[in-house]
């Protein structure tokens, strides 16, 4: 098993590289750029803009640049971001660091210090702060939302799905099926806005957005905030809980729909297997037949399914976070795309890709643990 994990992790490296290259090129191929903020500003000349771009290791381009040269520029920019190229130098000299060694090498061997392979994700163009810092401060909010929603929706989906499968075609099953189709078809933004309107605006039961009540607390995830949190953990948790309610409800409602169908189908398949009949023929209680023999087998595909849902949640439930003004990674992503904040976008994509690949790996490992038929060595 250990060997399998190591082998698979090594296999992830080229995959990750491909993902990163392609997302960088796609991002660059989209029109516009961070220099758009200077557009129409008569005090800033084109020369100044080009110099500004150069400082960000970006290649100035305009509509007249030939397409091949543009793509070439994208690769140069990627090389700078990734750490192969040294953007203080140009031409073939760019492969070498300021100290003269190959730029890809670690600094100790005369390499450069810029780029992902040297552990440097760059700086946010909008804020000027390190990307690692920008992303790190968004993690707690995303984690709170994602974890709460995931635990709730998976457990509710399992209960609903299993119960509906056991009582197939009953009123309960039909109701769950009907509601599932409705919620499955609802766009997240529509549901979210309606929940805000009903529970936030009309009934005023829950706040309409944000993670904390800003007039009572310091900004979320600042040292001052955690100080206040430590001084009054009960009230702070309650405050976050109140803000969590609507976004969690949105995520749960939309995702339960699909997952409960999945659990139901899996359970139905399992319940009709020969071994379930064998268990029944042994005289086992129905609870044991269903809860042990059928459920254990029905959960195998569910494990994989849930593991693969995790990365989407942690890369930020983008729409939900945006609608509820949630200070997480999803909203950071939207804001960065809006501002063409290339290095923050790439940082987020890198994190998402790593989470996705590792969630796959974890799914495989968990599958091997729960299903004795799977052996990886």
């Amino acid at each position: 098993m250990i060997k399998f994990i190591i082998r698979r992790s090594l296999g992830l490296v080229p995959l990750l590289l491909l993902v990163v290259v392609f997302s960088f090129l796609l991002m660059k191929a989209a029109p516009g750029g961070p220099e758009a903020q200077f557009q129409g500003n008569k005090k800033i000349s084109q020369v100044q803009i080009d110099a500004w771009l150069k400082r960000w290791c970006l290649q100035p381009t305009d509509a007249n640049t030939p397409i091949l040269e543009q793509v070439g520029n994208y690769f140069v920019e990627f090389g700078g971001w990734f750490g192969i190229l040294n953007c203080n130098r140009s031409g073939s000299q760019a492969f070498f660091s300021d100290s003269g060694g190959l730029n890809v090498l670690p600094p100790a061997l005369g390499g450069g210090s810029n780029g992902v392979i040297h552990g440097d994700l760059g700086y946010g163009i909008q804020s000027g702060r390190p990307v690692t810092e920008i992303i790190a401060e968004r993690i707690p909010a995303t984690f709170i939302l994602a974890f709460t929603a995931l635990v709730l929706w998976v457990s509710i989906a399992i209960v609903l799905g299993v119960y509906a499968a056991i009582h197939r075609y009953s009123l309960f099953d039909q109701t769950v099926t009907f509601l599932s189709y409705i919620f499955y078809s609802l766009p997240t933004f529509w549901l979210g806005l309606n929940l805000i309107f009903i529970f936030g605006v009309a009934l005023r039961w829950f706040p309409t957005g944000g993670i904390i009540t800003t007039r009572d607390w310091s900004p979320f995830n600042t040292p001052q905030y955690w100080q206040q949190f430590g001084a009054n953990p009960g009230a702070a948790t309650l405050d976050i809980g109140r803000h969590l309610f609507l976004p969690v409800l949105t995520l749960v409602a939309v995702n339960i729909a699909g997952d409960s169908r999945f659990v139901r189908a899996s359970m139905l398949e399992s319940i009709n297997q020969d071994y379930v009949r064998t268990a029944r023929a042994k005289g086992l209680r129905n609870r044991v037949v269903v809860g042990k023999h059928a459920l254990r087998n029905a959960m195998l595909p569910v494990v994989t399914n849930v593991a693969l849902e995790i990365p989407f949640l942690f890369s930020g439930a983008i729409v939900t976070e945006t609608i509820f003004n949630w200070p997480g990674m999803g909203r950071l992503f939207i804001d960065s795309i809006g501002g063409k904040d290339y290095f923050v976008i790439m940082g987020l994509l890198l994190v998402t890709a790593i989470i996705t690949l590792f969630a796959n790996l974890i799914a495989d490992v968990v599958y091997a643990i729960v299903d004795p038929r799977i052996r990886y060595d």
């Binding site: 020969d274 023999h293 299903d371």
Partner: protein, 359 residues
């Protein structure tokens, strides 16, 4: 149920006195499906004495498996329905028994071996877990004692190195080995009746003989009664004493193995025997039964077998022969009724190879 119920079947009563272990009376099992009602089992009666062996023979879809599942009450209702009939086990009607009591009968008093050893064991639990489970439930043994019992029963079905096998998962065993595990599981609680539903169909020929031999030995040793369901007359000849032949949900003929296999009365039985290849018929065409099983939604008027029967004559398309109507009463066929103007009674060459198998 009271003790006043005596076997209706004279044949069985003469052979062994007392109450049968299992007595099925006029059992009907219907399935309500989209296109209508399928009468999978349509009024069958038979009985098994304690320690005796009975074979139920018939082609696919004749209702033999549904009969066994009805006895175990393992059918989903709906779509299944048992509109009439009694299944008396030691005098108690299994059909009207409360669920909780029926549960105690299953696995403990009546155990079942299924056709598909590859899928009948749960893939995510060890063999030992699956055997011990029933023992813990029915005999109230501790986990440790049940585990020992599992090892013991694996040994009893001829599995080598049971201490190691007991910790293995089904996928680590061969098909024959899994069927042995199924048998071990069925016997772990010392049932009084063992129902084997096509226990050798999914196995390859060399293993089939071993498994049949095993079923016969353990049945002999434990003194359990055996109800063997099969479409294979060779298996019947080797394993059981009495036979019931089913066709389209009805019993068409019954009797001892010798009577039924050597002197079949019903044209269907004759057809079944005729369709087995044998040494004596080398070079000849096989005498297969013409046509197919009737559409369950469109049963022929009169005898169900009439459209396929080479001897069919007028009464066959008019009235439905039931077992007991004829003389002798152990066949449901108008050829044998006293009043009928019978053409030629069915004649069939005795199956010498089957005689050999009978010993």
């Amino acid at each position: 149920m009271t003790g006043s119920i005596l076997p209706v079947d004279d044949d069985v009563a003469t052979r062994s006195a007392g109450r049968p272990l299992l007595e099925v009376r006029d059992l009907r099992t219907y399935f309500h499906v989209m296109d209508g009602v399928v009468r999978a089992v349509d009024g069958i009666s038979f009985s098994i004495m304690a320690g005796e062996t009975l074979g139920i023979v018939g082609e696919s879809g004749c209702g033999k498996s549904v009969t066994s599942l009805s006895i175990m009450r393992l059918l989903d209702m709906p779509p299944a329905e048992i509109p009439s009939g009694e299944i008396l086990f030691e005098g108690r009607d299994l059909l009207t028994m409360p669920d909780e009591e029926m549960r105690k009968v299953r696995g403990n008093d009546i155990a079942m071996i299924f056709q598909e050893p590859m899928t009948s064991l749960n893939p995510v639990f060890t063999v030992g877990d699956q055997i011990a489970e029933a023992v813990i439930l029915h005999q109230g043994l501790s986990k440790k004692a049940a585990w020992d019992k599992a090892i013991e029963s694996l040994k009893a079905v001829g599995i080598n190195n049971p201490e190691r096998r007991v910790k293995q998962y089904p996928h680590e065993l061969s098909g024959g080995m899994r069927q042995r595990v199924m048998i071990a599981m069925a016997l772990s609680c010392d049932p009084k009746l063992l129902i084997a539903d096509e226990p050798t169909t999914a196995l390859d020929v060399t293993i089939q003989a071993q498994i049949l031999e095993l079923i016969r030995t353990v049945q002999d040793r434990t003194g359990a009664a055996l109800m063997l369901i099969t479409h294979d007359l060779g298996v019947v000849a080797e394993t059981v004493k009495d036979v019931v032949v089913m066709y389209a949900g009805r019993i068409v003929e019954e009797g001892s193995v010798e009577e039924v296999l050597l002197a079949p009365k019903h044209p269907y039985t004759e057809g079944l025997l005729g369709s087995i290849p044998s040494r004596g018929k080398r070079g000849e065409r096989l005498n297969v039964i013409r046509g197919t099983v009737p559409n369950p939604f469109n049963m022929p008027p009169g005898c169900n077998f009439a459209p396929r029967c080479p001897y069919a004559f007028e009464p066959c398309t008019q009235a439905d022969p039931r077992i007991g109507d004829a003389n002798p009463p152990d066949v449901a066929c108008w050829l044998y009724t006293a009043t009928a103007t019978s053409p030629t009674p069915p004649r069939v060459r005795p199956r010498l190879d089957l005689v050999e198998a009978l010993g």
